[in-house]
Symmetry: C3
C-alpha cells in the first residue's frame, strides 16, 4: 500500500491539521485496532474518549468533537469524518490489478460474439452467440454470458457471474461473484386438468442502467414480458432478490437480502434496509426509506420512512413497540381492576 504524510492527507480531505504535518501514515483502521502509522476516524465525542488509549498516529475528527492530539500525534478536523474517511480510503486504495486484455485460451467465445477493444475475458468464461462485450470490460474467471446478451463498456464481472440471454448491462456496471442476471421469473398457472402447475414462459429480459453495482449472489429475474429494469447508479447488495418486471429507479440503495416481489416499482433515491420484503405490484415512492426487515404490503408514499411488518411510519412503529412491552402488565392491571370493580 502507498504511504502519505498527514499533511498530504489533510490537504486532500480539505481539513484543518492540528499537530505535526510530517507524520507518515501507511494504513487505516478503527481506533481500537489501529497501530502506529495508522490513521483512524472519530465521528462523535463518545468515540473521542478512545483516542488516548488508541495507538493510531492520526485521526479524522468530525466538527463538534472536542479533542487535542497530544504529543507526536495529529488530528485533522473535517465536517464529517465518515466522508473524509472515504477520501482517505481512495488515497490508500491499491491500483486494481487489471487482468491482461484479450481472451484467455481456456475461455469459450462464440464466433458470432463481439468483444470490444481492451476487454479481458478470463479463464473459463463462456460467451454465447451474438453476445456483445463492450470496450474495456473485465470478465474475471468462469463468467458466463448467454446468447444475445449485451455487456456495456467498462463493466467488471467477477467470477461465476451468469448473465442470461438477451439481458443488457449499461456502462460501468460492477457485478460481484456468483450473481445471476436474468433467470426466469417465478410464474406458474394451474394446469387445466388441475393436475399441477404449468410454467408461464418468461419472455422478457433485464435492463440494467449505467454505474450500477450488484452484490455477490444477488439474483435479478428477467421479465415475464418486457423487462425488469434497474436504473442508473443504483446499488444492490449481496443476496438480494429482484423478481420479474420490477422497475427500480435511479440512485437507489438496496441493502443485503432484500426481496422485491413481481412488478414492484421503486422510485428514485430510495434506500431499502437489509432483509426488507415488498409484496408484488406495490410502489415505493421517490426518496422513501424502508428500515431493515420491514415487510411492505401497500404503496409507500414518496419521502416516507417506514418500518415493521406490516410496514408503516417508522416513529409510529417504534412507539407501538414500546407500548407493546407494557401490554402484558396493562392486561394484568385491568384484570385486577375489573375483578375489584365486580
Amino acid at each position: 500500500m502507498p504511504t502519505h504524510t498527514i499533511g498530504q492527507i489533510a490537504q486532500r480531505v480539505k481539513g484543518s491539521l492540528v499537530g505535526p504535518d510530517h507524520l507518515t501514515i501507511h494504513a487505516v483502521d478503527q481506533l481500537n485496532a489501529a497501530v502506529e502509522g495508522c490513521i483512524s476516524f472519530i465521528r462523535d465525542n463518545r468515540h473521542a474518549k478512545q483516542w488516548a488509549r488508541s495507538k493510531a498516529t492520526a485521526a479524522l475528527v468530525s466538527a463538534g468533537v472536542e479533542l487535542e492530539p497530544g504529543a507526536g500525534r495529529a488530528l485533522v478536523r473535517v465536517d464529517d469524518a465518515d466522508v473524509g474517511l472515504a477520501v482517505v480510503l481512495e488515497m490508500f486504495s491499491p491500483p486494481a490489478p487489471k487482468p491482461e486484455g484479450g481472451v484467455h485460451p481456456s475461455a469459450t467465445v462464440d464466433a458470432t460474439a463481439r468483444v470490444g477493444p481492451d476487454a479481458a475475458i478470463g479463464p473459463g468464461c463462456v460467451i454465447g452467440k451474438g453476445v456483445t462485450i463492450g470496450e474495456g470490460c473485465v470478465l474475471h474467471a468462469n463468467v458466463c454470458v448467454m446468447d444475445d446478451a449485451v455487456v456495456g463498456p467498462g463493466c467488471e464481472l467477477f467470477p461465476g457471474v451468469v448473465v442470461y440471454r438477451l439481458c443488457e448491462l449499461g456502462s460501468g456496471v460492477i457485478v460481484h461473484a456468483n450473481a445471476v442476471i436474468g433467470a426466469d421469473g417465478f410464474g406458474y398457472r394451474p394446469a387445466p386438468d388441475r393436475s399441477g402447475l404449468v410454467k408461464i414462459p418468461q419472455i422478457g429480459t433485464v435492463k440494467i442502467g449505467n454505474d450500477v453495482e450488484i452484490g455477490a449472489g444477488a439474483c435479478i429475474d428477467r421479465g415475464k414480458f418486457s423487462a425488469t429494469v434497474i436504473g442508473d447508479g443504483t446499488k444492490i447488495d449481496n443476496l438480494c432478490h429482484i423478481a420479474h418486471n420490477c422497475r427500480i429507479g435511479k440512485g437507489c440503495v438496496l441493502a443485503a437480502q432484500v426481496g422485491l416481489s413481481g412488478s414492484v416499482v421503486v422510485g428514485d433515491g430510495v434506500a431499502i434496509g437489509g432483509q426488507v420484503g415488498v409484496a408484488d405490484h406495490f410502489t415505493v415512492g421517490d426518496g422513501a426509506q424502508l428500515a431493515a426487515q420491514a415487510g411492505v404490503i401497500c404503496d409507500v408514499p414518496a419521502g416516507a420512512t417506514w418500518f415493521g411488518t406490516p410496514a408503516h411510519d417508522l416513529r409510529a412503529t417504534l412507539r407501538e413497540a414500546v407500548a407493546l412491552r407494557r401490554l402484558p402488565d396493562l392486561i394484568k392491571t385491568l384484570k385486577k381492576t375489573s375483578t375489584q370493580d365486580g
Copy 2:
C-alpha cells in the same frame, strides 16, 4: 419474436373477440408501457381506466370488466385475463435455443459417467465418477455434477449449478444458475472436551421429484441421514434455503428467500410467501398458505392461512396489527383516566 393476428390469439385463449380480427400483434406489455402492436391485459375495472390512454393495440379483459375497444383496437373477453396472459406468453415465447447435443470439448466428463442420447454438456462442465445424465438433458456452461449423482431425462441445468454426490433429480427438472443441490446439512455437536464443535457427518442425499423448478442461488442441503425430499411439481424460487431432511410434498410453491430449518415437513399444495421461515421439525399441513415473512414455530394445520412472527391465523394477525396501532393512545387514555380516578 413471432407475430400473430388478434383473431388467432382470441381463438387460442378461447376468448370472445370485440373488434377487428386482423390486427397484428408482435409483443406483450403492461398498459402503461405498451406500444402499437402490443397486446396487454386488464384484470379489473380499476385498470380498465388506463385503456384509453394506453397505446396497446389489443387487450385481454377479465369477465366483469366494462369496456369497449374503440376504433382500430380490439378486446378479447376471457374468464381470467391472467390465465389468458399465460397462454398468450406461450404463443410469443421464442423457441428455447437448445445447445447442440454432445459433450463440449472443454467439459470434463469422467469415463465412468453415463450421458444419455441427445444430452448437451456445455463448456466447462465437470461430470464426476458414476454420474448418470439422462436423455435430452441440457447442462449449460460450468455446471458441476459430482460423483454418483443422477440427473433424470429432460432436465435443464443453468450455468454454475452444483449437484453434490449421490443426489438425484427426477425428469424435467429445471435448476437455475448457481443453485446448489446437496451441500452438507448444518449439524455439529459439542466436542467431548468442550473445546469446540465437532461436525456431524451428513450421510444422506437429496431426492428431487419430476417437473420441479429450482430458482437461482437456491440451496437444498443433503440429509443428515436418508434424504431431503422435494415432491413432484414443486416450484422453489431464488435464494431459498431447504435444510437437511426436509420433506416437501407435491405441487408446492415456495417464493424467494424462504428458509426451512432441519426436518421440516411440508404437505402437498402448500404455498409459502417470500422470506418465510419455519423452525426445525415442524409440519405445514396440506394446502396451507404462509404469508410473506411469517415465522413458524409450531405445526401449521392443513388448509390454514397464517402470517406474522410467531405465525398464526392471517386474519387474526392483521386484526392485531390494527389494534397495535391504537395501543399507544389507549395507554395514554388509560393513564389519564387512572390519574383522574385517583
Copy 3:
C-alpha cells in the same frame, strides 16, 4: 455403506444394550421412514409411541424414555439420543472420496502461485498470482482463488467457490459450493455535486480462522479497511451475509440466511437463528442467543437470549405476543365500558 452389529454400535456410543447384540444394522433413519436393518433414535416419550409401528431394527433411546425393544429388536440406552446419533453417523459415514492430488490439466494456475504437497486442484479451477494453497487442500471443480489470497492447509473448497484477492483462510476450513469470500463491502458516499453515489474503496480483506465451515452461497465481504474476521471453529450456514468489517468470535453458530450489517461485533460462543438481522456497529455479547428472524437494533448483552423485531428478551417477547392476541378483544371491551360509563 458399511454395516455394523448393534453390539458394536452400543459399544461405540457407550450405551447400554437391551436386546440381542448380533442384529445387523446398515443404515440410519427416522422412526417413520426406517426399514428393516435401520437404526433410529428416540429422544422423548412422545416419539417412543412410534416405536411399535416403526420398522426400525434398533434405536438409540435418551435417558428417561420408558420403552422395551420387543422381540427380535434392540434398544441402546444413552444419555442423549441426539449425541449418540452423531456418533452412529460417523460409523456409517462413507470415506469421503478424495480427488487425486495434483493440478487438473483444465485448471489455470498462475506460475507465481504456490500449491502445497498433496493438494488437489480440480477441473476448471483458476488460481491467481501469488496465491498460496496449503498442503492437502481439496479444491473441487471451478473454484476461483484470486491474486495473493492464502488458503491454509487441509481446506476443502466445493465447486464454484470464489475467494477474492488478499483474503486468508486458516487451516481445515470447509467452504460449500458457490460461497463468496471477500467481495467488496457495500459502501458509497454522495457525489460532491449530488449527482449520485460514489463508491468507497474497500481496501480491507477477510481473515477466516481455523476449522471454520461456511455454507453454500454464503457471502462474506472484505473490510472497508483492515479485515472482516471470522474466529476459529465458527460455523456459518447457507446464504448468510456477513458485511464489511464484522468481527465474529470463536465457536459461533450462524444459521441460514442470517445477515450481519457492517462492523457488527459478535463474541465467542454465540448462537444466531435463521434469518436474523443485526444492524450496523452493534455488539452481540459472548454466549448470547438470538432466536430466528430476530432484528437487532441495539447491543445484546453477553448470555442474553433475544427474539423479535426490535429484538429483546425472548421470554418477554413471547409474553407480549400472547398479550397482543388479546388486544383486539380488550379494545372492544374497553370501548363498551367507556360507552356504558358515558
